[in-house]
Subunit: 191 residues, 2 copies
DNA sequence: CGCATTTGATAACAAATGTTATCGTCCCGC
DNA sequence: GCGGGACGATAACATTTGTTATCAAATGCG
């Protein structure tokens, strides 16, 4: 998100440069928890190299909401903005290099930019885009069968299927890994 | 939405008054389609009296996204803002009195207020709220069973269950009306 | 290298949900 | 007021998806 920000709104570059200097870059092994569900978000995470997933625990059932790869950033926005416990856990899937933007720095930035209409419009654009994204995820979960969702994933975002272990894919599709196996089997038979 | 707008941002009242004067009020019988899926949204609809639902057709299967009652407003935002065909149909459930705000008027309003930071912040607040709303719908569909979702509806928004025919409730819960019958039966047995 | 862990496939069975069909009731519009 | 459509319940059966268990292959780490 930071990255798209920077790309799309060059007017803001002086701000980013000022603040990105304050970021630290850390390397984590695979399966490291960056933010624990139930804790308050303290940082914004930006993937320099590697892969993260955002998920939550429902009665012991692991449900993945989204994957993040190189040049994508993530924070539990609700938790971040409202200082409430996060509904999600953020963890590494691969050994990853992560750039960390502390919340305090982010807030400073916001405060400084609050009166800047360019920034406000940029923020709104981002917000609308997120809204569209979640709306689409929502609709896809409702109207598409797991098979359709899997085929769509293969077609639209094959890198995810390649890089992410199958049970996380299943957790993202909303099914068990057993059922995903069945689906793959069925697809293989059709060819 | 217009209404909450008006309530929450009194600074904007002069604007609302100027524009609401341009609105027309129409009475529709039950089951009238206000906006057809596939067509471009031309209006913002505000419920004065009655009840609407927002739904889409998926392979002949009717899926309700949201209900709207008195003092709530709705437009197919995507279609409205981007002038693309609507993904949804909007129709009356009961005989309803609807106030219509034509798109052109809405756009005039936007243009005039574009530079007003109070308005921009208000717009952002609304946007965040919608985002939270859809996020919650999304999460509920994923993690809750139809039974849980129904019980939650009974508890949190009993007026919906009272006023809306059961097959629309089922369509909203993401199940068939047959299955909703089973659920109700099961719940009745437990008492 | 070699072992422990992770990952993925498969089978057998169980549970949840959909489909189709039938029936009775209610209610709205002519 | 009456007839047809809308609404809701229920049964029988079909399909989808989950659960549990087992095994084989791949992978990463010491």
């Amino acid at each position: 998100m930071l990255f798209t920000f920077k790309d799309r709104f060059p007017d803001l570059n002086p701000y980013w440069e000022k603040y990105t200097a304050l970021q630290q870059c850390v390397k984590y092994p695979s399966r490291t928890t960056l933010l624990q569900e139930g804790k308050k978000a303290q940082n914004y995470y930006f993937v320099v190299q590697g892969c993260l997933r955002l998920w939550f625990d429902n009665n012991g059932k692991d449900t993945t909401v989204q994957f993040f790869f190189e040049n994508e950033g993530v924070a539990s926005l609700e938790s971040f903005q409202k200082n409430i416990p996060s509904m999600f856990t953020i963890e590494t899937i691969e050994p990853s290099t992560i750039q960390i933007l502390p919340k305090a720095v982010f807030n400073d930035m916001l405060r400084e930019l609050d009166q800047n209409p360019v920034f406000l419009k940029a923020l709104m654009d981002i917000s609308f885009e997120r809204q569209r994204h979640y709306m689409n995820e929502f609709l896809s979960r409702i109207r598409d069968t797991p098979l359709q969702r899997y085929m769509n994933l293969l077609k639209e975002r094959p890198h995810i299927v390649k890089r992410v272990p199958q049970h996380y894919i299943a957790s993202y599709l909303g099914i068990t890994s057993v059922h995903l196996s069945r689906i793959k089997n069925k697809l293989a038979g059709k060819k």
